[in-house]
Amino acid sequence: MKFQFINKENIDAYIATIVIGLKNSLAYKLDYILALFFNFINVLFMILIWSAVYLGTNVSSIKGLSLPDIDVYFFMIYALRGVVNTDLSSIMEEDIQSGGVATSYIKPLRYPIEVFMRSFSSDLLTMIFTTLPFFAIAILISHIALAFNTVLLLLVEILIAYILINLIGFLLGMTAIKLIYIGSLTEIIFTTMLLLGGGIIPLNMMPSIVQQILYISPFAIMLYIPATTFLGTVSQSVIITGIIAGLVWIIILTIAAFIAWGRLRRQITSAGG
């Protein structure tokens, strides 16, 4: 593929890609509303389950988290799941399977950026329909007055998480060039992320050695660290470790993505039409 600089015309085209993606996604408004409804129900059940654990154990705090903290934690987790729920790999898989990648290639746009823009449009809607409502509820029930520094820190963590998940999504999407069907691989990675990122159980409840390993993995910064930063229950050293680890992972994954794309893009074949 011929190298293409990003000029003004291209930027307009990329923005148009986002707008088209938004319009396409909004055709399925009911799906977003139902997803929001079921996510809300799931958080409520999560809260009831943990309430039973706290009442059954008859303690006010487990590993430094009180029951109200757990409630806020899971609302934050579901808010953050909206951020790290990228469609990038699925879109790339669909492009390879349907042959859509061939038409993408004749556009005067760089495929990796163009496909990211398409993914970004649905990500944006997920953030609007999932992240914002759950984040608002978390603020409402926690009665936390967020300091400017905390907001800034949260934004940095969320940005790192979003870049990381998109890099992982892009690398996964590229495997479709070889494997064609990657739905299972995508599910394995995203479920692993949910488990190792603290989406099912707060990481501080895991054994100490597991925690230490997970804090330097790319997963903790996606869910656990932002959620506990919001709550104020995580130490500064964990936050710093998570951010540094996240940045290092971004560098590693970016290099891996560049190398892999450089090699694999020549092997793309249109599997459909």
Binding site: D31, I62, L179, S184, L185, I188, T191, I200
Partner: protein
């Protein structure tokens, strides 16, 4: 058509679907691995919960594993046979019409359309977890046989319920994607004793969305928490749910109009 013909038709479609499934071996094995892996998630969650707390009142760790693995097996069986999305998709695009001319019962045809065959991986994992927990708890073979019989009746009722629900949701909103969301929610709720959610939710998941009849009540029976009269009442209720769902399914299908061609 006799029930033998229906079973033969079901088995033939199974053979065909498995061959189709293994056309992409790497993908098939990854999906099987994924489902097997998913089976362990609830074990991890329960293990962590019991390592940092006393867990759920009246339920020890291995009893929780029995409950959770039973749910895994029940949901795997449902996902294996029922693809709600495929059903509503084929109704919307008219693809179902070609299936409807086959000389078999509509319920058999729609349950043979192809579910998630990879759920076999999840079923195997949960069966292994169940066997291990049952061995640790020294459960008698007779109790386990009775338990699985009640679970099987409950699962059949639940399958009929979701089949009917898939058609109903097509009539109401022309989509059944939310059934997948609902099953995912059940996958979380059913992992835990229904009693912890309070009476209203317990009734909801017993009468309205009857996951309790396939998982929670059979587990209570296995641990001797409910008597034989209540157990028989649950079996009778399961059969009633299956019958009503079956009749409602055929009633709704009478009003089916093809959405495409």
């Amino acid at each position: 058509m006799s029930i033998v013909d229906s079973i033969r038709y079901y088995l033939i479609t199974q053979e065909y679907s498995w061959k189709k499934f293994f056309a992409f071996r790497a993908q098939s094995l990854l999906w099987l691995f994924y489902n097997a892996f998913i089976g362990f998630l609830s074990v991890i969650a329960i293990t962590v919960i019991y390592s940092v707390s006393s867990g759920f009142a009246g339920w020890n760790y291995y009893q929780m594993l029995i409950l959770s693995s039973t749910l895994g097996m029940v949901l795997s069986s449902i996902w294996y046979n029922l693809n709600s999305w495929e059903i509503s998709h084929s109704m919307r695009h008219g693809g179902l019409d070609s299936y409807m001319i086959r000389p078999y019962g509509l319920a058999t045809v729609m349950l043979s359309m192809g579910g998630a065959y990879t759920e076999l991986g999840g079923f195997a994992t949960n069966l292994a977890i169940f066997a291990y927990s049952a061995w640790i708890l020294h459960l008698s073979i007779l109790y386990i046989i009775i338990f699985f019989s009640v679970v099987a009746i409950g699962t059949y009722a639940l399958l009929m319920f979701f089949l009917m629900f898939s058609v109903l949701s097509y009539h109401l909103i022309k989509s059944s994607r939310f059934i997948n969301n609902l099953l995912a929610t059940l996958g979380m709720v059913g992992n835990y004793p229904l009693s912890i959610f309070g009476n209203i939710i317990m009734l909801l998941f017993t009468l309205l969305i009857p996951i309790g009849i396939a998982v929670y009540y059979p587990a209570e029976l296995l641990f001797g928490e409910i008597n034989i009269t209540l157990s028989l009442a649950i079996i009778a209720f399961s059969l009633t749910v299956a019958f009503i769902s079956y009749k409602l399914f055929y009633f709704l299908m009478r009003y089916y109009t093809s959405g495409g061609g």
